[in-house]
């Protein structure tokens, strides 16, 4: 069995929020979860990724089918949930498709709002968590780092990121068209998503006075409230606090509207008709579109905001196409590297690396000793060659040993000890 990369998970498209929330892993259980996953026979490396829109297990494993089964089993056991309840929502990728999926996630092409910038940071955090418990070795190390650099490339070379940023800044601009000043205004965040957090951040830097945060899981609301220096409110009680909110940002993943016209009517009456600005960043919509008919209420959904920004839809689609091309090319590169990850290319790389050092140092020395005769120069060259060969002999013998287990251990060790990863990277560029 050749080892391969496997991804098993759910995201906002395959699973409703109830399932995603039940599958989510609490922060405190993450290290233990990594260790348990590594305990499964086929799993060699693993990284758990868990954001509000996705729960994914990325693994490098010997036997793809067995590993997929192990991961599903792990999810069921971890959450005390029968497999049947969530199995239909799971997606399973392996090989090239898995790499492509990871790159797309990092580049924010798989996000609810394409181009939103937070996913990359989250991915980095989860990768770091996995690395601290030793769950990451050569392959996933390379794969994740590659995904980070791909995301960076997509961000700088395409206009994909501008949508998310432009949506947020359009929201702030509109808020300024409605309100004279934001300092004495309160914003309410219903549900937490990557996009709504970005919008909230923009409002905060725009000077909004205070923030109320509510979320289905109260812990998350508390966490966000701490971040935004706001007040957390239990989800069941948010209608009671609605009259306090001048700006309401909705980002729930509920399949139905959480805000209906009567609720807004009541809030307005209590507010003595002071205007409200509602921003619906959810897909599907969290606020009933009929709310926009109410006097003194301005409801904008994510598409309205995106339309306000300079780029039109066609342009954004072209940018997304450009991003997919970049990813395709990078997946190719990575795939070539992964398939070459056996002893031979490592030996070649090691020899090249050391030979490079030798040549460089030799040149420096010969440059300083100009009065050497050609024979003496040859002698120095032969001497250094012999030393390098002798030193490399034993490591290369170990690498050439035909024992799969040991081989991959040594390949990994050598690549790290001699910084061959960086060496490859430079070659790439």
């Amino acid at each position: 069995m050749t080892p391969d990369i496997v991804i098993v998970g759910v995201n906002h498209r395959t699973a409703p929020v109830e399932v995603r929330e039940r599958l989510a892993l609490a922060d405190g259980r993450l290290d233990d979860a990594h260790r348990r996953l590594l305990g499964f026979e086929p799993v060699k490396e693993t990284v758990l990724v868990c954001t509000c829109n996705r729960v994914e297990v990325v693994a490098y494993a010997d036997d793809v089918a067995a590993a997929t089964d192990c991961i599903t089993h792990f999810l069921a056991e971890e959450h005390g949930m029968p497999r049947e309840q969530f199995e239909s929502h799971l997606y399973r990728y392996c090989g090239r498709t898995a790499v492509q999926h990871l790159f797309r996630v990092a580049a924010s092409l798989d996000s609810m709002v394409i181009g939103e910038p937070q996913i990359l940071g989250q991915l980095k955090e989860f990768y770091a968590r996995a690395a601290t418990v030793g769950a990451v070795r050569t392959v996933l190390h390379r794969c994740f780092h590659k995904s980070f650099s791909v995301a960076k490339r997509v961000r700088t070379e395409t206009g994909i990121a501008s949508k998310a940023v432009s949506v947020s800044s359009a929201a702030v601009e509109l808020a300024r068209n409605i309100f004279d000043r934001l300092e004495d205004k309160t914003a309410m965040l219903i549900g937490a998503g990557e996009m709504s957090e970005l919008a909230a951040r923009h409002l905060l830097s725009g000077g909004i006075g205070s923030m109320i945060v509510t979320n289905r899981t109260f812990d998350r609301a508390v966490e966000l409230a701490r971040e935004f220096r706001g007040t957390p409110v239990p989800y069941e009680h948010f209608p009671r606090y609605l009259p306090l909110a001048d700006v309401v940002i909705g980002s729930t993943a509920a399949p139905h509207h959480v805000l209906l016209p009567p609720l807004v009517h009541d809030a307005l009456r209590e507010r003595k008709q002071r205007p409200m600005f509602l921003i619906d960043l959810s897909v599907p919509r969290a606020f009933d579109p009929a709310i926009n008919e109410i006097d003194n209420v301005y409801l904008y959904d994510i598409d309205d905001l995106a339309d306000l920004s300079e780029e039109n839809l066609a342009e954004r689609q072209r940018e997304a196409g450009k991003a997919e091309l970049i990813i395709e090319a990078e997946v190719d590169k990575f795939w070539r590297w992964l398939n070459g990850l056996d002893a031979v290319p490592t030996i070649v790389a090691l020899r090249e690396r050391v030979e490079n050092i030798r040549c460089h140092e030799l040149e420096k020395t010969l440059g300083a000793l100009k009065d050497l005769t050609p024979r003496q120069r040859e002698a120095l060259d032969a001497l250094t060659s012999a030393i390098v060969k002798k030193i490399l002999h034993s490591p290369i013998m170990h690498l050439k040993r035909q024992d799969a287990e040991v081989e991959s251990f040594y390949v990994d060790a050598v690549r790290r000890l001699f910084d061959l990863e960086d060496f490859d990277e430079k070659e790439d560029q």
Binding site: R176, I178, K272, Q273, P275, N292, D295, N296, D304
Partner: protein, 271 residues
């Protein structure tokens, strides 16, 4: 001499209007300054003309319809220019200037020459009636302009259009607050005008109230503004308040014009 002043003021008001509107469309700062300077000059001319006539009449120049129209225009612009120093509401200028232009144009059309003020009309209560009433009218006119802009901005926000007009207009909150403030001021002055007016009526005709057409219209208008101020306190704001302000102004204009043009009564300057 007076007609020449009027024509010159007319030209300047027209110029200011063009300046403000083109500033609104292009956003060029130079146009805004030019428009403001032009409007100030027009205001100056208008004010000089009124002062000259007042000196001739030896009381506030309000006998003829054209006197009233040009006083009206002068007060509106004066109030706007004062306001402009505190709030940079350029967009308001593009409504105030054409309104002033229309008023001065009517003054020109209805110009009926200087008339000697009937001696028996001299009374301390007359300026005390006219001054607050007209200043109130002027402020309510500006409130009307603010309401128009409010409705425009409101429409832009509701229809979620891409136009850049939205960016050049003040925020809804600003417009709503200004509207309320001006309506309150205008209403207060208007009320004072009505009270001093009835004192004047008592002095001259022996009765505070005589169901004169102007009194009747003013009462209706006053009631509407009273309703506006009252409902505001109970939470009528935004679009409804703006609409009501516009209706109030329409009544005000009807009472001002029709009384002068259609009815013959004690208030009529033509009669």
């Amino acid at each position: 001499m007076e007609l020449k002043l009027l024509v010159l003021a007319l030209a300047l008001y027209l110029g200011a209007t063009a300046g403000f509107v083109s500033h609104l469309l292009t956003g060029k700062e130079a146009l805004r300054r030019l428009a403001l300077v032009t409007l100030t000059a027009a205001f100056g001319l208008d004010a000089v003309a009124i002062i000259v006539r007042s000196v001739v009449y030896r009381t506030l120049a309000i006998t003829s319809f054209h006197d009233q129209l040009s006083l009206f225009a002068c007060l509106i612009v004066g109030f706007y220019l004062w306001l402009q120093r505190r709030y940079p509401l350029t967009v308001l200028g593009s409504l105030v200037s054409p309104i002033a232009f229309l008023f001065v144009l009517s003054a020109y059309v209805f110009y009926s020459g200087n008339r000697e003020f009937p001696h028996e009309m001299h009374n301390v209560w007359l300026p005390a009636h006219i001054a607050p009433a007209f200043l109130g009218y002027a402020i309510l006119t500006v409130a009307f302009c603010v309401s128009l802009i409010y409705l425009l901005q409101e429409k832009e926000l509701k229809k979620k259009g891409k136009s850049s007009l939205r960016r050049r207009l003040p925020s809804l909150e600003t417009l709503d607050e200004l509207n309320f403030r001006f309506v309150t001021w205008g209403f207060t002055l208007f009320t004072i005008g009505i009270i001093t007016g009835s004192v004047l009526a008592k002095e001259r005709w022996g009765a505070f109230w005589s169901w004169d057409p102007v009194q009747l219209w003013s009462l209706v208008t006053w009631l509407l503004y009273a309703l506006l101020v009252h409902t505001r306190l109970t939470g009528w704001r935004g679009r409804r308040a703006a609409t009501l302000t516009i209706v109030g102004f329409a009544l005000l204009l009807v009472s001002f014009l029709s009384v002068n043009l259609l009815f013959v009564g004690r208030h009529s300057a033509l009669g």
